[in-house]
C-alpha cells in the first residue's frame, strides 16, 4: 500500500495561488464573502499563507502553500467523537460529511488550520453544482455536488483522482496529480508515494534538506517543504 505524501519546493514557489484557486474549482469549494473573510470563516481546502520576520530593510517573508498535512498521527482523528474523520490505509485523512456532527473539535485540534466549517445553507447557489466530474461512478459519493451545512470540510489530496488512477493502473505522481500540484506553473508541488524510493517525492527528499511544519507536535505530517 502506498503512503501518499506531498513535497512543496519553496524555492520554486512564487506565491501565485494557482494551487488554491485550482483546488476551489476541482472540489467545488464555495468561495467566501468579505464578512466570512473577516471572521476567518471562509472555506479553504488549500491556502497560501504568509509568514514574516525581521524589520526594514532586512524583512523576510515566506509564502507557504498549505493543504491538509495528512498527518500520520493526526490530532483531528484522535479527537473526533463521531469517527467522521479517519485515516485511510494509504494515509489520506478523510472527512465523512455524513458522520460529522459539526462539533468542531477537529478544527480546534488541527495545528495547521487546515479545516473549514461549512456555515452556509445547502440551498445557497454556490453550493450546488449540478455538474459533478464524470469519474463520479469511480469515486462513490465524493465530492458532493450538494454541500452539507454544519459539517467540517478539508483537503482530500484529491483522492478521487488518486483512486481512479490506481484503478486504471496509472502512475500517481507522474500521470495523475492532485489539482493543486497539477495547476502549479512552477512545478513546485510534487506528489507521490513516500515509501517508494523511486518516486519523485522520495528522490526530492533524499536530495535536499526538508522540513515539516510544527514537527515538534508529533503529528508526523506527510507534507514536506524544501526551503531555499
Amino acid at each position: 500500500m502506498a503512503r501518499w505524501g506531498m513535497v512543496i519546493d519553496l524555492d520554486k514557489c512564487t506565491g501565485c495561488q494557482s494551487c488554491s484557486v485550482a483546488c476551489k474549482a476541482e472540489n467545488n469549494v464555495p468561495h467566501g464573502s468579505p464578512e466570512e473573510h473577516e471572521k476567518r470563516q471562509a472555506p479553504f481546502w488549500h491556502k497560501v499563507i504568509a509568514v514574516s520576520n525581521g524589520t526594514y530593510p532586512t524583512v523576510k517573508t515566506d509564502l507557504i502553500p498549505m493543504p491538509c498535512m495528512h498527518c500520520d498521527d493526526a490530532p483531528c482523528v484522535t479527537v473526533c467523537p463521531a469517527k467522521a474523520t479517519y485515516r485511510r490505509e494509504d494515509g489520506i485523512i478523510i472527512q465523512n460529511f455524513r458522520r460529522c456532527i459539526g462539533c468542531k473539535y477537529c478544527i480546534v485540534a488541527c495545528p495547521y488550520g487546515a479545516r473549514s466549517f461549512n456555515y452556509r445553507e445547502p440551498d445557497d447557489e454556490e453550493y450546488h453544482r449540478p455538474d459533478p466530474p464524470p469519474e463520479r461512478a469511480d469515486r462513490g459519493i465524493w465530492p458532493f455536488p450538494h454541500r452539507v451545512h454544519g459539517v467540517v470540510e478539508k483537503c482530500t489530496f484529491c483522492f478521487h483522482r488518486i483512486d481512479k488512477a490506481v484503478k486504471e493502473g496509472k502512475k500517481v505522481g507522474e500521470e495523475v496529480l492532485p489539482a493543486c500540484a497539477e495547476a502549479c506553473p512552477t512545478h513546485a508541488i510534487s506528489f507521490g508515494d513516500l515509501d517508494d524510493p523511486e518516486s519523485q517525492v522520495a528522490r526530492l527528499l533524499a536530495s535536499r534538506q526538508s522540513l515539516r511544519l510544527r514537527e515538534e507536535m508529533g503529528t508526523s505530517p506527510k507534507v514536506f517543504y524544501l526551503p531555499k
Binding site: 519546493d9 524555492d11 520554486k12 514557489c13 512564487t14 506565491g15 501565485c16 495561488q17 494557482s18 488554491s20 484557486v21 485550482a22 476551489k24 474549482a25 476541482e26 468561495h31 467566501g32 464573502s33 468579505p34 473573510h37 471562509a42 491556502k47 497560501v48 499563507i49 504568509a50 524589520t55 526594514y56 530593510p57 524583512v59 517573508t61 509564502l63 465523512n96 455524513r98 458522520r99 453544482r129 449540478p130 455538474d131 459533478p132 466530474p133 464524470p134 469519474e135 463520479r136 461512478a137 469511480d138 469515486r139 462513490g140 459519493i141 465524493w142 458532493f144 455536488p145 450538494h146 483522492f159 483512486d163 502512475k171 500521470e175 496529480l177 497539477e182 495547476a183 506553473p185 512552477t186
Partner: protein
C-alpha cells in the same frame, strides 16, 4: 515529452462519457448510503475545449473542461510552448468571469440625459436591431459631415483579433483616434528599447537560460507579461538546472518578486536611472564590459562612457538612490561577471517623468555585458505572421480624417516619440483640443478607474455627446454610455491571440466558444462587422472578403499557420525555434548598431525642430519632479498590481477577491502600506483607518504597517475601489488613481504613476 505533459495532452481529445446512474459501492464505507441524484445527472457529458485566457494581456493558451454544458475547470494547454502548458491563478478565475452574475445580458439604452458619477443612467432594454440602427445612424451622420476624426475609439484589454478589427474600422472610417490603455503602463518601457535599437516594444528576456537577473522595479512574478511563462521559467531557473540563477530586485517595496529573489535592495523612488548609470560606471571603470560586442555592434560608446564616468560615481549615486556605494559596486560586479545576465526594467522604474531615459539607461546595461540576442539575454520577439488583409478601402473623408492630428497629441512636440498617450485624451476632450469629440466607442475600456486622475475621465465622458460602451459587464465607464452593447466573454467567442514579447519564438492561440453565449450578447468582432456592414460604402467594402464574422475572420487570419481543424483541435500554433545572434538585422537604428547615443531620437527631434543638447540623446538620470510639496506632502504614493487583479476592468470575482493580497493574508480589500517607523512617527497603528491625501484628492483606507516598504513611500494595490458592478467588487477597497496627479514621461507619453506626494493621517 514528460509523462506529466502526456497526461495533460490526452485530455485534449474531446471525450463524451456516459456514467451509470447506479453508483458503485461508496468509497467512504458501508455506513454511508448513496445520495439521491437530481434528475438529469445520470448521463454526464464531458469535453475539453482548447481556447485561451483574457484575464491579462498574456492571453495564455488554456483548455476548459465542460461538463453537462457548464464550464467547470480551466487548465493549461501543454501544446503551448510560451507557458509550457501552465497557467497562473488568473486563468482559473475565467470561470467566474463567464458566470459573473452581474454581466450585462441585453443591449441597453440610456433614458436619463444627465451623465455623471453615481447618476443612474435609467437603462431601458432595447433590441440589437434598434441598438445597431441608432449607433449606425450616428456614425453615418458624423461621417457625412466630413468629421470622421471626431469619433474616438477607446480600447481596454481586447483580444489581438479584436484590436486588429477595431484598427481596421478606424482606418476605414477615417479617425486617427484609437486609444489603447498602453499609455498607462508600458510606453516608457518600450521607448527605452527604441532609443537603443529601434524596437518600440517591451523587451523579451530569455529567462530560462539566464544566470543572473537584475530587476529594476519589474514585478516579474505578479504583473509583468507574459506572466505564466515567467512563473514556469522561475521554477526552471531555481531548481531544474544544475546552476541556480541569482535574482536581485531593486524596488522601494518588497514585492512578491523581491520576496522570492535572493536579494532585495530598496531604492529611493524614481532613482533607478541613476543606479543604472552608476552600475555602468563601475562596469566601465573596472573594465568588466564586453569589449568585443561593444566594438563590433554598438555606437556612441565613448560619449556614454564619458557621461557614466564623469557624473555617476557610485558615491554620488549612493546619496541619490539611498543604496550604499559598496552595494552598487557589488551588484555591478556580479551583474557583469555572471554570464548571461539580464537587466530587466519594469513599471516601478519606468513609470516616471524621466521614464524613457531610465528605461534606456537600464536597457543599455544589457549591451554593456553583451547580453543582446544571446541565450539567456535580451531576445527579439518574432511576431506571428497572420494572413494579411487587403488594404482598407479609403475615400476622401477617411484620408482627410486620418490626416488630422490625433487627440492624444502623439508624435507632436509635446510627446515626440509617443504612439499613444492614453491619459491626455481626457484633457483633450475637456478642452476641445485639437477639435471636439462628437462620439466615442469604448471596447472593454475603463479609464475612469484605471487612469491617474480618474475623476477627469468622469468629466470628459460626461461631456462626450454620444458614447457607446461595449463590454460584458457594466463598469464605471459604462455608466456614461448612451448605448451599452453587451459583449461575450472570452469564454464564449471566436478570436486569435498572442502574448506580449517574452518567448522569442512566435506562437498564436485561438479562442473558440467553450459554451454557447449565456445571454443575448455578441463578440466585439461581430459587433464591428455588423456596424461596418450597416455603414456600407467604403467602410463596408473594407470589411468584405475577410471572413464576414468573428469565426470567419479568425479562420481567414490564421489560414497560413495550419489547417483549421488542427487549430481547433490543438488551440495553438507554434512557430520555428528562436535564432540568436541576428546582429546583422535586429538593430533598426541609423548606424544599424546598438546605440548608446540614440540616433533615432536625434532624427526625431530634428524633425520637430527641438533643441538637442549634449544629454538629450544619451541615457541619463533626471531628477524626478514630484507633484506636491515635500513639506506638506512628505510621502511618495506608489501603486502595484497584485497577481489577482483581473485586467478586464472588473474585479467581481470571489476567487480573486478572497486571496487578493497573499503577502498580507488579506482578501476583499486593499491597504495603504506604510513603513513601521513612519507609521510610528505619525501615530498610526496597523488596521487604523487613515486618510491618504494628495494635492488633488484624498481617500480613506485601512493602514497596513509593513516592514517591506521604504520609509518615504506609501503603497496601495490597484484593482479595488469599484463604484459599480456586482456585489463582490462594488464598494470594496479604494482606487489610488483617484488621488494620483496627472503627469507624463515626455518622450513616450506614458502616464507617470508614482510621482505624486501624499500625507497620511488618522481618520
Amino acid at each position: 515529452m514528460s509523462r506529466r505533459t502526456f497526461i495533460k495532452l490526452s485530455g485534449l481529445a474531446v471525450a463524451v462519457l456516459a456514467a451509470s446512474r447506479l453508483l458503485k459501492r461508496p468509497a467512504l464505507g458501508s455506513a454511508v448510503s448513496s445520495p439521491e441524484l437530481p434528475e438529469g445527472e445520470g448521463v454526464i457529458t464531458e469535453k475539453w475545449v482548447p481556447t485561451s485566457c483574457l484575464n491579462c494581456a498574456t492571453r495564455c493558451a488554456t483548455r476548459v473542461r465542460v461538463v453537462n454544458g457548464r464550464a467547470v475547470k480551466v487548465a493549461g494547454n501543454p501544446l503551448s510552448r510560451v507557458s509550457e502548458g501552465e497557467n497562473c491563478a488568473r486563468a482559473n478565475v475565467g470561470l467566474q468571469v463567464l458566470y459573473d452574475p452581474s454581466r450585462a445580458t441585453t443591449p441597453l439604452k440610456r433614458t436619463n440625459p444627465t451623465k455623471g458619477r453615481g447618476i443612474d443612467p435609467g437603462w431601458t432594454e432595447i433590441s440589437w436591431e434598434q441598438a445597431f440602427n441608432e449607433v449606425g445612424e450616428r456614425l453615418k451622420v458624423l461621417r457625412g459631415k466630413g468629421q470622421p476624426e471626431r469619433l474616438l475609439l477607446l480600447c481596454g484589454l481586447n483580444t489581438v483579433s479584436a484590436e486588429d478589427i477595431i484598427r481596421r474600422f478606424a482606418d476605414a472610417y477615417g479617425t486617427p483616434n484609437v486609444v489603447s490603455a498602453n499609455g498607462l503602463n508600458n510606453e516608457a518601457d518600450k521607448a527605452g528599447e527604441w532609443l537603443a535599437d529601434g524596437h518600440y516594444t517591451q523587451s523579451a528576456y530569455d529567462l530560462a537560460r539566464t544566470n543572473y537577473i537584475l530587476s529594476f522595479g519589474a514585478s516579474i512574478l505578479e504583473s509583468y507579461k507574459p506572466l505564466a511563462r515567467s512563473l514556469r521559467m522561475w521554477g526552471k531557473i531555481r531548481r531544474e538546472r544544475p546552476n541556480r540563477a541569482k535574482v536581485v530586485v531593486i524596488d522601494p517595496r518588497y514585492s512578491i518578486t523581491a520576496l522570492r529573489a535572493d536579494r532585495w535592495v530598496p531604492i529611493n523612488p524614481g532613482t533607478d536611472g541613476a543606479l543604472a548609470m552608476a552600475i555602468a560606471n563601475v562596469i566601465i571603470s573596472e573594465g568588466l564590459y564586453d569589449t568585443d560586442f561593444i566594438k563590433r555592434w554598438t555606437s556612441g560608446f565613448d560619449e556614454y562612457r564619458k557621461l557614466a564616468i564623469d557624473y555617476y560615481d557610485p558615491e554620488a549615486v549612493a546619496i541619490m538612490t539611498g543604496i550604499p556605494a559598496d552595494t552598487i559596486r557589488q551588484i555591478a560586479g556580479e551583474f557583469a561577471r555572471t554570464k548571461p545576465a539580464i537587466a530587466w526594467r519594469g513599471r516601478g522604474a519606468t513609470s516616471w517623468p524621466n521614464g524613457s531615459y531610465s528605461s534606456y539607461a537600464i536597457f543599455c546595461l544589457n549591451a554593456l555585458v553583451g547580453s543582446i540576442d544571446v541565450p539567456g539575454g535580451v531576445t527579439y520577439q518574432e511576431d506571428p505572421e497572420y494572413r494579411l488583409m487587403p488594404e482598407p478601402v479609403e475615400d476622401d473623408p477617411a484620408r482627410e480624417g486620418k490626416a488630422r492630428p490625433a487627440l492624444d497629441l502623439r508624435k507632436t512636440g509635446r510627446f515626440p516619440a509617443a504612439e499613444v498617450v492614453t491619459n491626455q485624451v481626457a484633457d483633450s476632450i475637456l478642452e476641445n483640443k485639437p477639435y471636439p469629440v462628437e462620439m466615442a466607442m469604448g471596447f472593454n475600456s475603463n479609464f475612469n478607474m484605471s487612469a491617474p486622475g480618474a475623476g477627469r475621465w468622469d468629466e470628459a465622458l460626461g461631456k462626450v455627446p454620444y458614447y457607446v460602451h461595449i463590454a460584458p459587464f457594466i463598469s464605471e465607464m459604462a455608466e456614461y454610455a448612451d448605448i451599452l452593447l453587451p459583449s461575450t466573454t472570452f469564454m464564449e467567442e471566436w478570436a486569435y491571440d498572442h502574448s506580449p514579447p517574452g518567448s522569442g519564438f512566435a506562437e498564436i492561440r485561438i479562442k473558440q466558444p467553450v459554451v454557447e453565449p449565456l445571454y443575448d450578447t455578441k463578440s466585439n468582432i461581430d459587433i464591428v462587422f455588423e456596424i461596418a456592414g450597416r455603414l456600407g460604402g467604403t467602410v463596408g467594402q473594407s470589411f468584405a472578403g475577410i471572413g464576414d464574422d468573428a469565426q470567419g475572420f479568425v479562420r481567414y487570419r490564421t489560414a497560413d499557420f495550419t489547417s483549421w481543424d488542427r487549430l481547433l483541435e490543438q488551440g495553438v500554433w507554434v512557430g520555428p525555434d528562436y535564432e540568436y545572434y541576428k546582429y546583422g538585422r535586429i538593430f533598426h537604428t541609423p548606424s544599424e548598431k546598438f546605440e548608446f547615443r540614440s540616433g533615432n531620437l536625434e532624427a526625431l527631434l530634428k524633425g520637430t525642430g527641438e533643441e538637442i543638447n549634449s544629454l538629450t540623446c544619451l541615457p541619463h538620470y533626471e531628477e524626478v519632479k514630484f507633484l506636491g510639496d515635500s513639506g506638506d506632502y512628505p510621502l511618495v504614493l506608489t501603486t502595484y498590481q497584485p497577481l489577482l487583479n483581473i485586467e478586464n476592468g472588473s474585479q467581481n470575482y470571489p476567487w480573486a477577491q478572497e486571496m487578493f493580497l497573499v503577502m498580507h493574508g488579506a482578501g476583499w480589500t486593499n491597504f495603504a502600506e506604510i513603513n513601521s517607523k513612519t507609521a510610528r512617527s505619525l501615530g498610526i497603528e496597523d488596521s487604523d483607518t487613515v486618510w491618504v491625501e494628495s494635492p488633488f484628492n484624498k481617500i480613506k483606507v485601512k493602514a497596513r504597517v509593513f516592514e517591506g516598504i521604504h520609509p518615504g513611500v506609501v503603497s496601495i494595490a490597484r484593482g479595488q475601489g469599484h463604484r459599480t458592478g456586482g456585489e463582490w467588487a462594488r464598494g470594496i477597497g479604494v482606487n489610488p488613481n483617484e488621488i494620483i496627479g496627472v503627469d507624463y514621461d515626455r518622450l513616450s507619453g506614458q502616464s507617470a504613476l508614482f510621482n505624486t506626494r501624499v500625507r497620511v493621517y488618522r481618520a
